[in-house]
Amino acid sequence: MTINRVEIDAAAEALPGHFGPYGGRFVPEALTAALDELDAAFRAAMTDPAFAEELSSLERDYTGRPSIMTRAHRFAEYCGGAHIYLKREDLNHTGSHKINNVLGQALLTQRMGKKRVIAETGAGQHGVASATAAALLGLECTVYMGEEDTKRQALNVARMKLLGAEVIPVTTGSRTLKDAINEAMRDWVTTVDRTHYLLGTVTGPAPFPEMVRTFHSVIGREAREQILSLEGRLPDAAVACVGGGSNAMGLFSGFMDDPSVQLRGYEAGGDGVETGRHAARFAAGTPGVLHGARTYVMQDEWGQTVSSHSISAGLDYPGVGPEHAWLHDTGRAMYEAVNDDEAMNAFQILSKTEGIIPAIETAHALAGAMRLGQELGPDAVIVVNLSGRGDKDVETAARWFGIPLGDRE
């Protein structure tokens, strides 16, 4: 379904922070000043060589960038024999791509003279990364996490606490990522003079989608350079999973101006799009406004948000980054749903063929690569963003595959 263009403000589309009719700022007026301040700090930092130097030395000496690119020969047998390359964001400090954005925003927090950060988290990866950066830079950190997610990701809750962060379980609504964002927004509107909301993905009001994509664009820049050196040519496709869509935007941004490179995003199909229990915004959502931006939203005919479902807490979100909505409508990127069982199959295959246990979020991208490899054939070159490692998911995966967990059972 496409948006009813007549009722969208054509003048607003020309303003910064919009991706066609998507994006923008739909927030309480109380937050406008803070968003303006953030926007100004971000733009000043982007033209300041000192900021670039500070960020890139943290990336090098703390995160461990550049992340390597691994050719997956054995996994490729399950992908129609295509050349499969894994961009190893799982090897970053804290175990996922999330740290890229967090370090950038934490440095901005310091520049704005704020002493406290708050964050939402689903799977806990962004919460852990935020707690980590806060510890590194001496900032106070509070993480909001749906109560449901604190149970499925108990290990990450403990990690955040060990890092000195306060974790607040959110008991409203569906008790997942969507409600954690609501609660973080409520905190922010109350404490905005001393607090930065370290939003973890390419959603939310402007400038968040653009800013978070910018801090993750290092993924795409490195990947483009690496694949050119490894294969001597551009890939046929860049593949990523899409919850809010930050790891995907990071990878896609490196190939945006290369029209021969297909951009492929995989969202969570849960139990199957036809069951209604999924997080497939493009397959089953419609344009709407959620959490400060116009984008594709899972909603009913009255505009009430519908609860999403996925085995992956990180993809279990009824909205998606507004730039993805625009890439979808323009056809520059293509999005498909991957169900829980297909993702878990890919999870197991990668583990057993390459000795790499991926995050369950990432497993959706791997399942996508398996489909795409079959489609494109053995000569195809496919770059997959291996956005996170699966340590946090061991318990969920063990339960899925019926592996006994000893005294924890």
Partner: protein
């Protein structure tokens, strides 16, 4: 400006007092009870009613309104139910505005919503998460159907923002008294009088103050420097604490009567 809404403020001004605006989510605790509760507010002297359109993600609201809204949604309150309630209470003599997060309006259809609200007798809409920058089609629709569009200002608003917001607003300006979410507070923020003074420099529109006003004494205090006093969570709490509808109606009437005395300086 919608003539019925402007007459609310003109009447109050003629009586040297502030207008009292009362909020409840529509359909809370259910469709029929909700209509009776709004009637009770009107009958007890509330000058204008803010009919909340229940939304699944009320990120500007505190615990009391969140709970009420989720009860309303569970009771099956749709946008059509909200419009029906507006029609019923307008027929009962209320001056009714809708308070809605933006997505339900966009989903319903901007033109369609403005048209249906006007034909239901509604006088305006308060949109707490719509900024003037995104409101082009909404301004056209509200103008076309003669209903007011109320935007908010906050203590953090710069003077430039206040100018932008007030020039997009019709009816009255909603001044959020504090940086935070809805909910009863021990005292009204000291930021409120300063904010109202800054808004006065930018506009001749009436200014109503909301967020954190819950008692007659607070209403009396706010009425000294504003043209309208908005009370929401206190009504919601009164209903949440009541054991049955009869008790809720009594509690709402009592609170409305007290607040009505408050805005008249008789608390």
């Amino acid at each position: 400006m919608n003539p019925r809404l402007s007459s609310v403020f003109e009447t109050a001004r003629a009586e040297s007092r502030a207008a009292l605006i009362g909020y409840l989510p529509a359909g809370f605790p259910d469709h029929r009870s909700s209509v009776e509760l709004f009637h009770a507010m009107t009958d007890a002297g509330v000058d204008a009613i803010e009919v909340g359109l229940p939304y699944s993600d009320p990120l500007m609201d505190g615990p009391a309104i969140q709970e009420a809204v989720s009860m309303a949604l569970e009771a099956g309150t749709t946008t059509d139910v909200v419009l029906d309630i507006v029609e019923q209470i307008s027929g009962h003599g209320a001056t009714a505005l809708v308070m809605s997060y933006w997505n339900p309006i966009e989903r319903y259809g901007v033109q369609r919503f403005a048209e249906r609200l006007a034909s239901a007798g509604g006088v305006g809409v308060i949109t707490p998460d719509l900024t003037p920058e995104e409101a082009g089609p909404w301004s056209a629709a509200t103008d076309a159907f003669g209903i007011d569009r109320v935007f908010l200002v906050a203590p953090s608003s710069t003077q430039v923002r206040i100018d932008t917001v007030t020039s997009a607003t019709t009816g009255f300006v909603y001044a959020a008294s504090t940086m935070g979410v809805t909910g009863a507070r021990g005292q009204v923020s000291s930021a409120a009088p300063e904010l109202v003074a800054r808004v006065r420099e930018a506009t001749k529109l009436p200014i109503a103050v909301g967020l954190g006003v819950s008692t007659a004494a607070q209403a009396q205090d706010v009425a000294r420097y504003s043209d309208g006093v908005i009370v929401g969570s206190a009504f919601v709490n009164a209903i949440l604490e009541a054991t049955d509808l009869a008790a809720a109606l009594r509690a709402v009437s009592k609170l409305a009567t007290e607040l009505s005395a408050g805005v008249r300086g008789e608390a």
